[in-house]
Symmetry: C4
């Protein structure tokens, strides 16, 4: 099955998720800078989740760009990923409106962890269909970032109950680590394309 | 008329429905595991409806992939299907926030039943345009699942007033039955494609 | 300029409008049939607006399918149409939640009237670009429905202050009149395509 | 990397932003013209933001139509633009529901200013990839509007604390200035296309 409609649907869902989070932003009580400042933690949590969803869109985009066809099982693996991403607005609001208490901060990390696992499952299924010598397999490489991220999420979940700002720092750290994720895949894709022309 | 824009519009609507349900999720009262646990029935109902909308997207996607053109009547049959799907978030919220009382649980089943009938009408219209010897007609086959589902929905609607958890079990059962719906159509489509190459 | 991205954007906006109306549906007070019945006017108004947005999507789809390129002015005419359509959820909610009082019922008609005028402006601009002998111009024909609709909206607006249910009947009447709008254009398009093959 | 999916994602996000603003529109208290009139400032602010998002979609559409490929950095520059645009509904609501007090009116201008800067960054990155002799570079020209807008936003931000209606006038002025933005680029694009045919 071709990938077109899968990409269109995923784009739609991620585009909606990344924007409906702004509906969770309550207006400040009052019209002063101070009232806006009081909402600052909520705005920063929104920005963090915006970046996370942007990273997932970006990685999804890169991964699908070297995939030729998807199986029925991959469609469900993709919906499974979208399910966990759809809980990001909920967990962002629960964490930030209560000013980052332990349990909601841990739940935020759990949702990120589940999304990372879902992305890994989807990637594995796509590699199986594409084959071990495919451009996709080569582009993924040793997948260091993909292996470190779950560990950092687990660290963040644990830290939520001890030092919550360190937990948030762990989540921010993973986001920063991923912010330039494409260069690697871009290079491999370009190399692979160049080779296929020889 | 080509199917492109019909698919794009349906993708858009289903993508929005599957994600706006998270806007219905109220934040837990408090920041403890217990408060989150209290919201668990709502979260599970959300997951069930997410799966249902995923199933509809998946089946819609498969059905349209073997359709070559759509009539004006099929456009309206498609909008009719989207109408009933658009009531899924409403009925999910009414059922789950009140912890599955009889009437809302029955209404949830009625909405699912109407969506199933609307899908059947759309399928029938598409088959009429494609012809009795089309890939679509062959792929549908005897449509056992499509015939059992309405009966199970009716069973669930009736059970809502007697034993509501059995009603929910009926709804979950239909979802599980559909979770692997594509293999049949995938196989028929592949076979048909292979035959057309001979 | 090609029409692809204009269609995609319009599809997106109309898909969102048609679905966010369900967010306006408040849950019934209570879990009985009576409580749901109390919400019935709201649900019926939602169904009417769903049909109206479906009609606009349908007509937009048919019109654009015979257009080859769009000017910069047509992009704005399209946004102007989307602006009035975007007020449909607002006016639907104001009218139905207050059980169809005079002013909101008139405002609902005014929004529909403005959308109809905006559609006419867009159509005129597209015809100008396509030319008087284009398929689009032929397909529109004498545009009887397009000329009667504004008159019926005006009638409905006036009746809102006298006999509001007759006003609602006028709005329902226009929707019914448009429900099968495509046959005419479909036929002309087919004829034109057939001619161009000779 | 081809531009297709970037355009689709941006279309999705802007389409959602332009429509979810109507969810911020509270129903008037009462069902009279007076009650609706009381909501007029909110409706006008909504119309202004609708036009702004329309301008961004329009300019984005024109810019991408002459771009052939996007780098990984440009994907992030695009997400950065979408981030600031996503704050438009929030700042519109804060400004208009409080009837245009100084700080929220200034914040509205700051969001517009940041979006303008983000658009400039994206444009610069795309030009770098396309080259100094590209159609894009020629079409942008001296970019007078792009240079005046930030100055007018700064003026508006300053005026918010002195004469807020002049601030709003500045924002309206920028929107009017951009309302016919495409002719220039359209002409250059046409010319460039004509030249490339020689």
């Amino acid at each position: 099955m071709p990938t077109g409609r899968l990409e269109a649907f995923s784009d739609g869902v991620i585009a909606i998720l990344i924007t409906i989070m702004v509906l969770e932003l309550h207006l400040p009580d009052g019209t002063t800078w101070h009232a806006l400042g009081h909402q600052l933690p909520v705005l920063l949590a929104y920005a963090l989740s915006f970046v996370y969803l942007g990273i997932y869109w970006n990685n999804h985009h890169h991964m699908l760009s070297v995939v030729h066809r998807v199986s029925g099982a991959a469609l469900w693996a993709n919906l499974h990923l979208l399910f966990w991403l759809s809980l990001v607005p909920f967990s962002t609001a629960w964490m930030s409106e209560n000013r980052f208490p332990p349990t909601p901060t841990a739940v935020y990390g759990i949702v990120l962890l589940c999304a990372a696992i879902a992305f890994y499952i989807l990637q594995t299924m796509l590699v199986r269909t594409e084959g071990a010598s495919s451009v996709l397999r080569t582009a993924i490489g040793s997948d260091v970032k993909g292996k470190i991220s779950p560990l950092l999420y687990c660290l963040g979940i644990g830290l939520s109950f001890v030092a919550r700002w360190l937990a948030v720092a762990a989540y921010v750290g993973v986001a920063l680590m991923w912010l330039v994720p494409d260069r690697r895949m871009e290079r491999h894709v370009s190399t692979a394309h160049a080779k296929s022309r020889d």
